[in-house]
Amino acid sequence: MPRQIPVVEYLALGDDPHLTSHACRSCGALYFDRRNACAKCFATDFDTTHLANRGRVRAFTIVGRIKRPFVSVVVDLEGGGVVKANLLGVDDPDAITPGMPVELATFVAGTDDEGTEAIAFGYRPRSDREAQPA
């Protein structure tokens, strides 16, 4: 199996791919990026948190005028956290409903000249029982 690297540091690979986040120790605010301080409460200490793979669509668009149009979504994760990514396997805007349930999925985004694969993530619709809109 080729070496794999996540496309962003907040994607953890391995047997159970998931997103991680910096959580402010003082107020719990979540951030994906390297931090100088907490933008909510100004504290400077952070823990690393494991975010849920399931969530619901808060917003979306379909980006056109390019070779391969894609669907971008903002997802509210179960248990907290908001993330932006591509919505996979959907191309009809009418198929996207309020609070639509989705689940994280990973895929190979590219391979570099040393054969290392860059692994990205997106969200797929899920249709199991828990997924009914609240």
Binding site: I5, P6, V7, V8, E9, Y10, A29, L30, Y31, F32, D33, R34, A39, K40, V57, R58, A59, F60, T61, I62, V63, G64, R65, I66, R68, F70, S72, V73, V74, D76, G80, G81, V82, V83, K84, A85, N86, P93, I96, T97, P98, G99, A109, G110, D112, D113, E114, T116, A118, A120, F121, G122
Partner: protein, 401 residues
Amino acid sequence: MSAGDIWIVGASMTPFGRFADKDLVDLAADATLDALRDADMTMANIGILALGNVYEANSHNGQRLQKQIGQTGIPVYNVVNACATGASAVRIAMLAVAAGETEVGLAVGVEKMGKMGMIGGAAAARAEKKVYGPRGRYGAVMKSEGLLGTGLMPGVFAQAGTEYALANGVTATQFAKVAQKNHAHSVLNPLAQYRKEFSLDEIVSAEMISYPNTLPMCCPTGDGAAAVVLVSDQKLRTLDPDVRRRAVKISASIMTSDPWTESDQVQPDVNTLTRMAADAAYETAGLGPADLDIVELHDCFATAELLHYDNLRLCEPGGAGDFIDSGRPWRDGDTPVNVSGGLLSKGHPLGATGVANLFEVVTHLRGEAGDRQVEGARVGLTHVIGLASACAVHILEAPAR
């Protein structure tokens, strides 16, 4: 703000469009000299110059303008705040007047964009990396645009729109009606970049840029400038009656930035800071949405205008879709919005926009807007928002007649 009110006694804008034969300073000079004429002043009267420009922000355009129209030794500030750049220049000139440093301030906004394509619509070209390695604050190994959703302006404002639509049941057609209205309005505005009406069907079926916004639902790039001359209460009293009669009062001038919200860490929140600015402006002016005779708000995309009906409290909470359906924001409605044609059709030379919307409202409050005049307009509101985030709201009032 200190004791007295601050007044606009001169206002001007160039036509918006593409002017290959004019450089940035020509545009700024045209607007400035005309605003000074309008105020019956020269550069000798001006005590501070604030100049807003985005794309050539570090070319010191304030001083370049002085060198072409008048070097008098006054303080000059070059300011940039994305699409709120022009309004930021106005606020700095106001601050100098309010602080008592001078009685007369000049604010100029200018942009020379030419034909750049869609605003923020293209990512910068980069050399392809041969070996992946994490970079920057997210440890990204490749560019995220298109891979982890979209962060470009058309996508940001589209997603802001669908968030509202999913929560409140707004349709793609309702968003399109915003563009229909603004393009129709622009036909009456000789300063607009485009002056062409579109049917709702033409808009809905046009090329999709970022769902639900089709091409006529996105503002164009372009060139243009606008300028305003501000004076203190005290100074106003000394001016010619013909200038005083046309003076417009700045009843509120509020600027905000993006406060922390959970979602704004991944997608700019264009609502919260607009609501904060609007609420503060209404409170400062002692006026409410029902008092507004004319509104120029930041319709960089059709979705944005619809959101701001709600953010500026022009409609019931969640009721922006009904509001556009009702026809109320049309020129002949009870709350005319973007009678100028808005950014969608009048154009959006970034640095000029936040000054040009003051010019538009001032012109109506003076009763000088010609074919597009909103009859009897006495109170107007302007709104701009730029990302990463700055929002400005002004409330203007016509002088007693």
